[in-house]
Amino acid sequence: MNFPQQLRFAGRAFKRDVKAGELRVLALALIIAVASVTAVGFFTDRIGRAMERQAADILAADLLATSGLALPESIATRAIELGLDTARHTRFPSVVVNQDDESQLVAVKAVTSGYPLRGALKLTTLDAPTEPAPLDTPALGTVWIDVQLKNILAIDQGDTLTLGAKDFIVERLIQYEPDRGENVFEIAPRVMLNMDDLEASQLLGPGSRARFTFLMAGEVSPIDSMKDWLESNVASEVRVQSVRDGSPQLQRALTRAQRFLGLASVVTVLLAGAAIALAVRQFSLHQADASAVLRTLGATRTEVVIWLVLRLAMIVVLASVIGIVVGWFAQLVLAKLLQTWFSMVLPAPGIWAPVIGTLTALIAVAGFGLMPVLRAGRVAVMRVLQRDYSGLDTSVVMTTLIGVIATYFVVLLQSRDWLLSAIVVAGVVAMLGVFALFGRIIIKAVRAVAGARYRLSVAGLQRRAGSSVVQLAAFAMGIMALLLIAIVRVDVLEAWERDIPPDAPNVFVVNIQPDQVDGFKQRLDNQNIKVAGVFPMVRARLAAHNGEATLADEQNERQQRRARREYNLTYSNDLPIAGEIVEGEWWATDGTAEPGWSIEEEWAAHRGYAIGDTLTFKIAGVDVTAPIMSFRKVDWESFQVNFFVVGSPATLVDMPATFVSSFKIDSDFSTTTGGWAREFPGIAALDIGAIMNRVKTLMDRASLAVEYVFLFTVLAGICVLLAAVQSSQGERIRESALLRALGASHHQIKHAVVAEFAILGAIAGLLAAFFATVVAWALSRFVFELPYEFNGWLWIIGVLGGAVGISIAGYFATRRVLTTPPVVALRNTA
């Protein structure tokens, strides 16, 4: 046969396959695999991009360039060339004076139109602080102020504030500033004005302590080029910040969400792969007879193999097209659902999802189908005369090996991580091995204890020992995925949410003077506010490491700038809350400790510090040197006051310090903190509830997305169960025909089938619960870094759910067993 003939020949057979339902399960598995990979791909792509945009709110842009000197014009030129949206702001400290000649130190921010490029300011008038009153940019001659300044200077709507040489009318109250969280310790209250007013106010002279920021936003690729360009082209005193360098809380939330979504799609692909493997094996077994006939009639093995391969290729193409269409619509629906939760139009998906979907189908079919198809091509021709010539190559080593390699590549396509894929595949292989081994042992044990009533069912299991173990492994894998989704997902997500404790502080108070500490504590007590602690804060610069000046150490200006950076140190007898010692020891808590430092572990690792090294900080002109005594792990997500560097009291107690505190309030921020500024001059209360809410919202959205994505995993899991049930259908039809011919009643056979599946389901559920526990623990511990709690329901639901679910699925899938007339079944067997 030449190739076009072969193609026609295969085409004809394929048409019949489709009509006869021969490839139904395989097609279904493939469509689900392609649809879920495509939908998850499209969806995670869009959600991922949307979440990055949300994170971008924190910067008010996708990319920032900030400097203490005026920024070179080349940045703007380049950004415009790349088609980016741009804006600027300039921040500096200054003093405002109100109509009563009261003055206050403020943090001025002059902005151009367009600011913020990402996220939005929430503005109200000063009269109605609950009614949104949006405006684009402060009009010339007006300023916007925050709640803190309103309280300190008792400002009303329309009042005049003097800033430098110019008077401004107060027009709006800033309730929320997206990028305010970027620098929580910028303690002074905010005054925002138009950039064009900056010159008129003559506030910025030479030597002013201003920070100039250029904001950029746009598509991923021009942003990446801009970032690269900035990093290699502008003077190193320009600090470049992108979404990914955002605040640690958001970054971790984002990373976790992506891991969840990645995990969901990997599990989906694994399950769909298992369904494909089962279905393709079934297809090949069915084709053994046909291939023997073909070869009897003169076809070579190659021709038979090509005939089978072409049919599989056709099903891959057909299923991929249907899968991509289904996947596209599925993600449209999902995106629409989530659209309302995201405060933006979801970005368009990339083109990779359908490509990955098709590749997944192709690799899965090729990997799992190659050996069975080759085997079907090599089947002993004598089969046409004597059925007991199975002739099927029983060596499973090669099949398994190729299957494992295919699984690896399929997982790799999803995870894009060589090592992670290897670990996942090794885990799955080990798991299937254990399923098979224990399955066999348990089936034997069940047979030993089964009474006469169930003997027929258990005998059925053992008669089909080979396929029973395959089915058992597939059921266990499917149930495990469903358990992980149904229960563990909830556990992990809850643990994640618990990560922000309900009593997490939402107010920070800074700049409390030493003589105000007791009074302030009393004030909080009067207002029934519980405080975890009031911590001293000492501003310092890092001067030397082991006696060597750190400035000389740092290789480039950027590092030097970091070295020049001011740090907030604290001192304490006790280990601060939300911290634990990972190396070294905490000092004596009775106040007798020698001078020493305790350093945050990542901060120390980054700089290569070791226990026993000495660090010198310059504080108010004085060098303070002490050895590093311990490294601490700090839980930044606790929202408690945290410090990179803590000294023992003896180290810092004599240094000039202000005090800081944090606590949770349930009432309105501005009402609660209203009188504080006048009562304790200089202190600043910061509302971080808004920022925390954003982190929480992000987590909620991410977990919602994950739940939707897991729907596909459930579908794939069901497909595995279906494929596994189908794989023994032919055998069951023949057996039950025989039993019915021998006089078994309809009821007896139904009972036997259901009981056999129930036993299989219960065993699979037991194994699945065990592995789900192990996997959940490992995921919590190593992937999501969350505490894991043992869940007993897993076992109960696993075993009961497995027995009930599988027997129902088995009953429906094998209804043909009961409806096929024995004579038809037996004639087809002959």
């Binding site: 046969m1 021969e22 007879d289 073909l294 009897t296 009639l297 076809a299 021709v381 004598m382 005369l385």
Partner: protein, 240 residues
């Protein structure tokens, strides 16, 4: 396609009139069973002349089908040799044996062995397509007409009765005008009336086309219609 297959093709295309179309000498077949090596066929000799019909009869399990498989090149003997259409099957590998059969050897099986994925016409076309014969569809249709199933051409095997399926199988066996036909209990799955019709059809087509026939059966009446009868017993063949 390799050289030896080509030589097989050319040899088969012009079978020599004075050599048997099929011959086996000293055929032995042993398989390893639970109680050691079990010899099914003992040094058998057999020859089938052009257009000759021979029947191999014997009880179930006597090794008739094993012999048929070896003679047709579907299986290999433990020792001895088989010559088919002028080729020593021992010199050919499995694919070359398949090539040798393509279009020149027909089969009728007890269980019909129609491909479930193909309709009646497509099943009949198979041997022609496998031997790259032109006009496969027309010739197959003519053959279906000859067996009286022209109106069932587009039916699936499962939509046909047992007798009809076997008629399709007969049409498939003769469509390529084979030099040699193997039939394994062709009426074994059919009632006696249908069985008669099938055997009439088979023998009339055989006479018409001049194909040699090797028929394995335990039906003595059917065997009587052949030119020669051989009885299989204890792994040996004896003339009846």
């Amino acid at each position: 396609m390799n050289n030896s297959t080509q030589s097989a093709d050319s040899a088969a295309a012009q079978p020599l009139a004075d050599t048997p179309v099929l011959s086996g000498s000293q055929i032995e077949k042993s398989i390893s069973g639970p109680s050691g090596l079990l010899t099914i066929l003992h040094s058998l000799d057999i020859a089938v002349d052009n257009s000759e019909a021979i029947a191999i009869v014997g009880p179930s399990g006597s090794g008739k089908s094993t012999l048929l498989g070896i003679l047709a090149g579907l299986d290999t003997p433990t020792s001895g040799s088989v010559h088919m259409l002028g080729e020593n099957l021992n010199d050919l590998d499995e694919d070359q044996r398949a090539r040798l059969r393509a279009g020149k050897v027909g089969f009728v099986f007890q269980s019909f062995q129609l491909l479930p994925g193909l309709n009646a016409l497509e099943n009949v076309m198979l041997p022609l397509e496998l031997s790259n014969t032109p006009d496969a569809s027309d010739r197959a249709m003519t053959m279906l007409d000859q067996v009286g199933l022209a109106d069932r051409a587009t039916h699936q095997p499962l939509q046909l009765s047992g007798g009809e399926q076997q008629r399709v199988a007969v049409a498939r066996a003769f469509v390529s005008n084979p030099a040699l036909l193997f039939a394994d209990e062709p009426t074994g799955n059919l009632d006696s009336g249908t069985g008669h019709k099938i055997s009439d059809l088979m023998f009339s087509l055989r006479e018409q086309l001049g194909s040699a026939l090797v028929l394995v059966t335990h039906d003595e009446t059917l065997a009587m219609r052949c030119d020669r009868r051989l009885r299989m017993g204890d792994g040996k063949l004896t003339s009846v």
